[in-house]
Structure formats: C-alpha cells, structure tokens
Symmetry: C2
Subunit: 355 residues, 2 copies
DNA sequence: ATCCTCCGTGTAATCGATTCCACGAGGAGG
DNA sequence: CCTCCTCGTGGAATCGATTACACGGAGGAT
C-alpha cells in the first residue's frame, strides 16, 4: 500500500508538503497542492490512520460497551450512537458485554489499549476496578442508560418514574390490584430504579409490593420465563406482571402461553422498553417507551463535548407510556387520540399514547 | 499513560528486553523477566495497540459491514461473528450500511484506513468499485449472507432452496394456489435468489408466479407494507404472501391488520429468516430459518484462515422450514414432533419443524 | 540599496512499539 | 590456554504519519 513517501516522490515534493496538503494547512502553493493531489489520485493513496493516531494521539474513535446486543433496545441505541458519531467525524467500536462483567472488562480493556478517544458505557454491574480506574485516570467517559453511583461521570438516561406512575394508574383504572414485577439485576441502576418507581407508584394507590410479587430477573428472556412460572405457581397469582425489560417480557409471554393462559383475560402483561414487535404480539403489549434514539445522540454529544474540551452535561429524558391491549380493554382510554410517532422500522398504527 | 520506556526505566533494563518479556520471547533471563513484570504491574502499563500495529502491520481486528443492524438476523450474525473472532484473538469493528451503498462505502473506506486485517461483508449492492479494488488489491475478504458474483472472494451463506420447496409444499398442501412474494432488492444475491427458489418450487407444483404477485421491496418494513397494500388492492389478491425477510414480513403484517383482515383466515403469511418474536406474533409466523450463528462463526474462520495464510473455504449451510400457524392449520403436520432448538433468546415452544 | 517580513518548503525529531545486529560474558572443547 | 558457541542484553533502525524549526527567495518599506 502506498505511503506518504511514495506520494511525495511521485509529486516531487517532501512528505511535509504532502501532509500539509492532506490536512489543508494554509501555507502550500497552489502548484504544489495540485501536484500532490494528482499524485494521491494516481497512487490511490489513503493515509494510514494507525500512523496518524500514533503521532497525534487521537484515534477519532469512540468505544461503546453495551450490555446485550441482542436486546432490540440496545441495538437501536447502538445505531443512533453510530449515526451521531459519524456526523461528528468519529467512528464507533461496539463491545457486547452480554450482561457479563468479565466480558465487559475485556472490552473496556481492549478499547483502552486501542486508545479510543472516549468511552460510552452501559455498565453491567456496580463498576469494575478497571472502569473506575479509567474514569479516574481521565479517560473521557459517559454512562448511558445505566450508571454507577458515586463516580464523576456524566449520565445520559431516561427517567421512567412518571411513565411508570401512568402505567400503574392505567392498571388501577382497569381494576387490577395484585401487581407483580420481574426486576432486573439489583446491581444495575435500571434494575433497582424501575422497581423503586413501581413500588412508589403502587403506594400512591394504597397498594403494596409483597416480596412474593417481586421476582429477580437478569434482563434475559429465560429469567422472565422462570420468574413468571413462579408467579403462576403462587396460591394467589398476580393479576398483572410488569417486566423490567422487553426480553423478560418475551419470556413471561412464553411462560404464560405454555400454561395455556391468555393475556390479558387470565393475566395482564406490561413491559419497560418498547420495541416494534410489541405492536404485533398477541396481544399487542403495553409498554413504557424510552426515547432511545435521542438518548444515543445525546450521549455522543456529551462524550464529544468532553473529548474536545467543552464541559459535558448529564441528560435525563422522560419515558412515556404506550397503552396497547395486554392489560385489558380500557373504557377510559379508547377515545384517546392516536399518536403517530414513527420509529424507523415500527408501525405505531395500533398504539394509543397516554401523556 | 505509561509507555514501554517508563517500564524499561523502572525495571532497569532496555526497551528491547521489556518488549521481549511482553511477547514472551525465549531469550530473557528469569531475573529480568520478574523485574519487568513487577514494573509493568507497578505502573499499570498496557502496551499501546496503535504503536504495535504500526510496527507489525497487523491490527488483529476484523471489519464487519452489514446491511442493517436493526434487522435481528444481522444482529445475531454480528454477535456470533464477534464471539468467534474473540475466541481467535481478534476484535471486530461493525459498520452498519443501512442498505445504503454510500454508507457501505464509507465504512469500507474507514475500515481500510484503519488497516483492519480482514473484511467481512454482506454487500448492499452489486459491488462498489472501492470494494472490488480492495478485493483485487489483496485485502483478505469474505462475503457473508450476500455476495457479489464474479469476484474471487469466499462466500459463507445459507441455501434456502430446499426449505423454500418445503414451504411451497406446505402451502400447496393447505390448499393455497395463488402465492405472492415480496422480493428483496434485485441487486442483492439474497434478493434475487429467494425469488428464483420460490418460482422454481412453484413450477414443481404447476403454479406460476405472475408479475402482479411479485412485489419489489428493499428488505425494510415500510416496503413490505407498501407491497402488501398493492397485493390487497388487486382484483384477485393472493392467498399467501411470502416476505423475503423478517422486516418486510413485519410491514406486511401491519398492512394486513390495517385493513382489518386476519392471518391466516383472510390471507396467509410466511417469511424468510426466523426470529424469536415470530413465536409470539398474532398468529405465530411460519418461516425459513437460517443457521445464523453457524454462518457467522464459519465466516470468521474462513477469514482468519485467509489472513493467517491458510486456504479459505466457501461454506453453504442449509436453511430449514419452521411451520407455525400463519399459513393455516395443517392437518398433516399437527402430529409432527416438536423440536426444541433453543436459540439464545428464543422460545421454540410452539414451533413445529419440517425436515 | 539595504533590511525586514512573509511565505513556501524541506530536514529532522517524534509518537511507542518490534526486531536486526553487535557485543560481552561464560562455558565447552581442543 | 585459546577458540568458538551460546545466551542475554542493549543500541538503533523502522513503521507512516505530524510538526517545530531553519532556510532561501520575493517583495515592501525606508
């Protein structure tokens, strides 16, 4: 592959001049510039990003470590992150932690070794020493979706509190009183926060959240199935199951269907995270929708601010309730207006939104 | 950040010795080795992958350019690719082309600039000059899922021909005679191949595929919706719609539901590509399932073979039909045995498989 | 005419690793 | 006791870029 030296030789100038042309430095004669450009074209020269990074100490690359690529929520997040990064002139390397702290560490280490300019993380656990060290050592870093308390790192996330309250209101209005939750790992902020928001909202309606109605999941489908089976085995099963993410909702649906029960007649189901498929499940699933794309873009902007020396800002965006049919037909909301919030691959034709 | 010089100083040896210890070169005294190791630990030193790559001319990184990250099929592919690559000591940088040739080129260019060791591509179009040049210039490359005819690059893909024949047999057995297809872009091999396989299978049953029953899609949900609406507007609409990928099937489902029609009573639906959600749609969708994980792993193995000087091999794996309820209740298959092929996030509890 | 400023350009140092080559010490063999 | 290996080690070149610095020439001011 042609190097800058070859270009210099071909154009009859020094490598310095070639470099100046390539980085459009002002003091280059137009004669030299055209000769260099011609040589570049003739040789099909492309600058070696590795060499450039070594010298300039910047890679124009962002690392993104997410908890689970197979989760459509994170896929969409990754997509919007890449999009915004590209717009700002950065590339993104994605690391999939698969909800495993060891894998998360592997990716963080690899990304740091490659000297990425900044790191976007949705931490799987309470924070490994490696990540804390990196943050303390000054690696530009932003947490997205989940975060680690007590670390000086900006956080970009959605606040589900009011949407969860809307959900509980919706459920209460439908006559449901025994509500259960499939929680995420307590080590993740989203895991514990969603339970807390749910419990708080229940309290407002004089309802409590007994231990038997709090199942411990891990954000994977299988755990949703297992926990739901536990609920169904109770002497008095809950009337509603609220899954703290979309994959556990999928597992719950599996478990319910395996018993030959129907949603929502036998048991209602709701989920945190909305995805295109929820429109087409049987029945369509009521969910708390996060502004995923906006989250990804805001996270990149915060990180790039930090990298380029501007003060980064934490961002919290509101989630909103999307009512469908999985909790029962609501007489009070059937007249609500249809909002057409077109996600890239989603149809929202059968959605009804609550403010 | 500490460099190899700092380590050398701390350990009281030369940088050459440090390098030798790090790459466990044989001729290093055990005394020097322990001193270096101690220094490395004390400084928290990590080798700079950028500098190493510049010198050794290898990045131990693979590039993966896929057509659409939001498509669960490609997400799963990406995941298995990363997994196998990691096992072989490589990292993966994913580029999402979003079915856009310009974006595909952007990513190929960026990856080439970073001097990745090899490229895994699922081409969006017939092949840009850039990619053809790269292939000709000797960049190790492997096509996965889709490929470009006439280029000397190994291909790893699934063969859907026999599964499509099984599908047509299934549909014919159910009494369907007017079968339509939502095709993918003709520029992609998967786009044209699936139509051809379908047409061939139809011919075996004495059925033809009229132009009116061949809709042109682009592998995105919206096109599935549009094409399906066209089908439904025909004076004699088809009895079955076969979508050439899962997203277009989603769009088709949207369109059908928007008309107030029911699947499979009013119209049957089948899809190429199986995904976890197809079990839970209303009704569960009959699909041709690809061995996605195996495909990803085989592609990485082929690419790494090529990179490390072994002759790479093209691989073709068979797809298989998974019968569910979206084409009607089949009296002949209701007694078929249940196969439990557990995908990572999928339940196959309600699947019935045909050989 | 002389001096000073720019302007365009080239030389060379530098980034952080790997690796070829030379060198000195020590042991084995004659 | 001399020679010849072998082994461990360090010096220095190298990868491909960027960039500080020096330098020569042109042009303006005095």
């Amino acid at each position: 592959m042609a190097s800058i030296k070859d270009v210099a030789a071909e154009a009859g100038v020094s490598v310095a001049t070639v470099s100046r042309v390539l980085n459009d430095h002002p003091s280059v004669s137009s004669d030299a510039r055209t000769r260099v450009l011609r040589a570049v074209a003739a040789l099909g020269y492309r600058p070696n990003a590795v060499a450039r990074s070594l010298r300039t100490d910047q890679t124009r690359t962002l690392g993104l470590v997410i908890s689970d690529v197979l989760n459509p929520y994170f896929t969409e997040l990754a997509r919007s992150v890449e999009e915004e990064a590209r717009a700002l002139g950065y590339s993104v390397i994605i690391g999939n932690a698969d909800e495993r702290p060891d894998l998360q560490d592997h990716h963080v280490r690899t990304l740091l070794d490659r000297r990425i300019d900044g790191l976007l993380v949705s931490p799987t656990d309470g924070g490994s020493p490696l990540m804390l060290d990196a943050a303390r050592a000054g690696t530009p870093m932003v947490f997205v979706d989940r975060w680690i308390p007590g670390v000086e790192v900006p956080v970009v996330r959605a606040d589900g509190q009011s949407a969860v309250r809307d959900l509980v209101a919706h459920l209460y209005g439908l006559g449901h009183r025994r509500l259960a939750i499939i929680a995420g790992p307590a080590a993740t902020t989203t895991g514990s926060e969603r339970v807390r928001a749910f419990r708080t909202a229940l309290a407002e309606y004089g309802l409590s959240l007994p231990d038997a109605y709090t199942g411990q999941g891990d954000f994977q489908a299988e755990s949703g199935r297992r926990v739901t089976e536990g609920f169904l085995d109770l002497p008095e099963p809950p009337e509603v199951v609220f899954a703290a993410d979309n994959l556990m909702a999928l597992g719950a649906l599996d478990a319910i269907r395996a018993r030959g029960l129907r949603v929502p007649d036998d048991i209602a189901l709701a989920a945190f995270d909305d995805i295109p498929w929820f429109v087409h499940t049987d029945p369509p699933i009521t969910a708390v929708a996060q502004p995923t794309g906006e989250l990804g873009r805001a996270a990149v902007r915060a990180l790039v601010d930090r990298i380029e020396g501007r003060p980064p800002q934490s961002v919290t965006l509101p989630a909103r309730l999307v009512v469908r049919r999985s909790c029962g037909e609501s007489p009070t909301t059937t007249v609500a207006t249809t909002t057409a919030t077109a996600a890239s691959t989603a149809s929202t034709a059968t959605n009804r939104s609550m403010p």
